[in-house]
Amino acid sequence: MIRNDVTITPELVAEHGLKPDEYQRILDLIGREPTLTELGIFSAMWNEHCSYKSSKKWLRTLPTTGERVICGPGENAGVVDIGDGQAIIFKMESHNHPSYIEPHQGAATGVGGILRDVFTMGARPIAALNALRFGEPGHPRTRHIVSGVVAGVGGYGNSFGVPTVGGEVNFDPSYNGNCLVNAFAAGLADTDKIFYSQAKGVGLPIVYLGSKTGRDGIHGATMASAEFDHDTEEKRPTVQIGDPFSEKLLLEACLELMASGAVIAIQDMGAAGLTCSAVEMGAKGDLGVELDLDKVPCREDGMTAYEMMLSESQERMLMVLDPTREKDAEAIFTKWGLDFAVIGFTTDDLRFRVKRHGEVMADLPIKELGDQAPEYDRPWIATAKPQALAIANVPAPEDIAATLVEMLALPDMCSRRWVWEQYDNLIQGNTAIGPGGDAAVIRIGNGPKALAFTLDVTPRYCQADPVEGGKQAVAECWRNLTAVGAEPLAITDNLNFGNPEKPEIMGQFVGCIQGIGEACRALDFPVVSGNVSLYNETNGKGILPTPAIGAVGLLPDVTARATIAFKAEGEAIMLIGETKGHLGQSIYLRDILGRREEGSPPPVDLATERRNGDFIRQEIRVGNVTAVHDLSDGGLFVALAEMAMAGRIGATIGVSEALPAHAWGFGEDQARYLVTLPEAQLGHFLARAGQAGVPARFLGLTGGEQLTLGKASPISLERLRMAHEGWLPAYMAQAHEV
């Protein structure tokens, strides 16, 4: 019988984030009162962050298989076959709550965690991206959070040595008290050298590797499963501290150890640290695990079993090693100056047993810890379908040209150069397209193949219509990859929502999942990994539903890639896809007219997406087009301006006679692209588009140093550039609020 020093009171149960019925479930499961250490272990395993108890039911509806999928959700990251014996391993994960409390360390450890997920599986990270969402620019904390998060992301990735090549930055009042930091990482591995977390074999040593264990991050995952209130500041000690230097050493040591053949199973210590990693390894392998905590390398004296089991100290790994190779393994870790300790072994009794000072502190059924976590079918209310907004109800601006300049300088539309110049986006020497394009492109080794990466979601669309918004997020990622010439392979999803116990919020979640699933099925674009972040609320107010999608595509030849920049004067500019002038939920409506949350988002027709995208991709691959840009926020005029600024070449285009200029130019209809090509090729191009059933329309020619939109007064590229590049640096240069 285990000695129980601490009486488990209802208050203590509540402090561990467990509901009374969940505690009853624990009592039923183990048939006695748990020890404090056991209660801590349950709280770590059964919180929303680790157990997916509110989301599991719906996540199961997503398509997760495909010809190229080697490993779908459930492991540290998803694995997709890219041919020639290689695989791309990737995932996206949130670090929202820690980043709000301590922006620099919160964001840094978010990056560290996702990198570890990738190299735990045997992959060397080749790209990092991140989707960042901040409160409104005028909120007193926003600047401080932007500054800290960007420095944290950069500080970790730069030192670790992975190029950070893209992502998203948005501002919205719904993130005022709850920023979003969604970190994506991808790595390359050989398909026959992929490592999993499933332990195999009884009586094998369980080895602890990496940094020492301290008291940081205790209850981090439990915190991430709760709403914020005015006491949020007091939660600072639950934020982990990152050390990219240790992580870099851990990467090199792990890859060297894996190459030596000594590793049987491996799991990184992320959320809920030692508890989660040990339980997962054992449970997946149908094995028990016994740990002797006296052997765990500690940074501080006198740590209790409870503290050690819940610490989220960073840069740590757990492995099951081939016992005959233990000495070789130790030599590799000693070379890299990292701690190495055998802290336990696998058993055949399916118990999770933890000892401290010779005494059993926890003895729990290992399968039930993970598998029998509560699972909820939470009540939900579908979001009411919004009314479509007629063009006639959206006034035209007085001056189209001035409005375009204004739009390019909006917080959500301006250049993110200030952000990505703080990220090393060139290291490893394979960056073919860095930040600022539709998707980043990274060459694989010496080529000729390459991979494309993008992150996308439009939260205001998801808020208005979760199903269409979910579809749109997937479709836009698919389009981004297509626009650089890549074949879209698979996605990872990072689902950020408010409190799932509220039926309206749960309805947003269900709707978005439905839309994501629909789009993934239609586009053969499976979900191979992901993460759910709920309870993104402060003082009862939820964030915009933000199901961020990270997507990966493959280019057979890196030299046949497209970029957004105009390449030469006198080239034909073509608009691909149908333009109806959809202004509902547009940037024009929200930010120029100040009409938030009005109308329906642009509908997504997945068959059209596919038809138009397949045509564009083919045109890129055979070299028929010189520049390509997909149309999204801000519509046609914004995309055109971005292409002109990137290429430092102007353009003159005619405008539609059928639609008012503002609807035609700022509407956000989907499945559209702008491309350029030599004017002499125009006839052939139109013929091919016609054959493919793809609407294509000649707009005008590139050239000069200004942008001329129909009868509007010409705008100099310099003026566009000043507006576009100016806002973010000027905003960040303002004095911090004290």
């Binding site: 950069g154 030192s159 050390d243 870099k248 890299w336 110049e421 060139l426 290291i427 890196v558």
Partner: protein, 222 residues
């Protein structure tokens, strides 16, 4: 040309450098772990970029005292060419093989961008394949690249033509004194620079302007 690249814990552009050297010289360079005490017999020793020892204490300060550095100093004295890029430049300064120090960037932020460099002295073993005054494209990626030296050191560097590379007007990304991007020692065999020529060597990089730097050394040791 035989070359060696020294790897410290936290080095992270050593793979870029190994690739560039193999690509340009046609000979596979040797990676040397910092705990070694002797460098192999090579024509060029490179200290690559990265965050050796996590940039703890000061950038390059701990690496400058690594085992291998005694032999780097010996080889440098004996006339072997030594190239330090980014963190490698910081280490060379900390080791006393080059004058001056690299401080935190003036804007206090890491900066990764392509800049224009101007060749201030094309007579060195590391710049001879460029023209004097030539402007070339090269990326920078650092948080501590703000070159500083005492007025005496600076006067000597300028007077002796030891400033080999400058950031072109308007391109100084870090506040370096006199727009200094790269310097050479008085013997003309130890060269340090903050920008990354190893990331500007093939069409994928957008330009191949960095190749001439390696080709200069190749010619010098031939």
């Amino acid at each position: 040309m035989k070359s060696a690249v020294v790897v410290f814990p936290g080095s992270n552009r050593e793979r870029d450098m190994l690739y560039a050297l193999a690509h340009i010289t046609g000979v596979k360079p040797i990676a040397v772990w910092h705990t070694e005490t002797t460098l192999p017999d090579v024509d060029l020793v490179v200290l690559p970029g990265g965050f050796s020892y996590g940039d703890y204490l000061r950038t390059g300060a701990i690496a400058a005292r690594a085992n291998i550095m005694a032999d780097v100093a010996r080889k440098a004295k004996a006339g072997t060419r030594v190239l330090g890029v980014c963190n490698g430049f910081q280490i060379l300064c900390e080791a006393g093989l080059l004058p001056g120090v690299l401080m935190r960037n003036a804007q206090l932020k890491f900066v990764c961008r392509e800049v224009l460099l101007e060749v201030a002295n094309a007579k060195t073993a590391f710049t001879s394949k460029y023209q004097e005054g030539q402007i070339w494209r090269c990326p920078v990626a650092h948080g501590d690249g703000n070159y500083f030296a005492s007025p005496e050191d600076l006067a000597r560097l300028e007077g002796e033509g030891q400033v080999a590379l400058r950031y072109a007007p308007g391109h100084n990304p870090n506040g370096s004194l006199n727009d200094i991007a790269g310097i050479i020692n008085t013997h003309g065999n130890v060269f340090g620079m903050m920008p990354h020529p190893e990331n500007m060597i093939e069409p994928l990089n957008g330009a191949t302007d960095g190749r001439a730097l390696f080709e200069s050394v190749l010619e010098a040791v031939a």
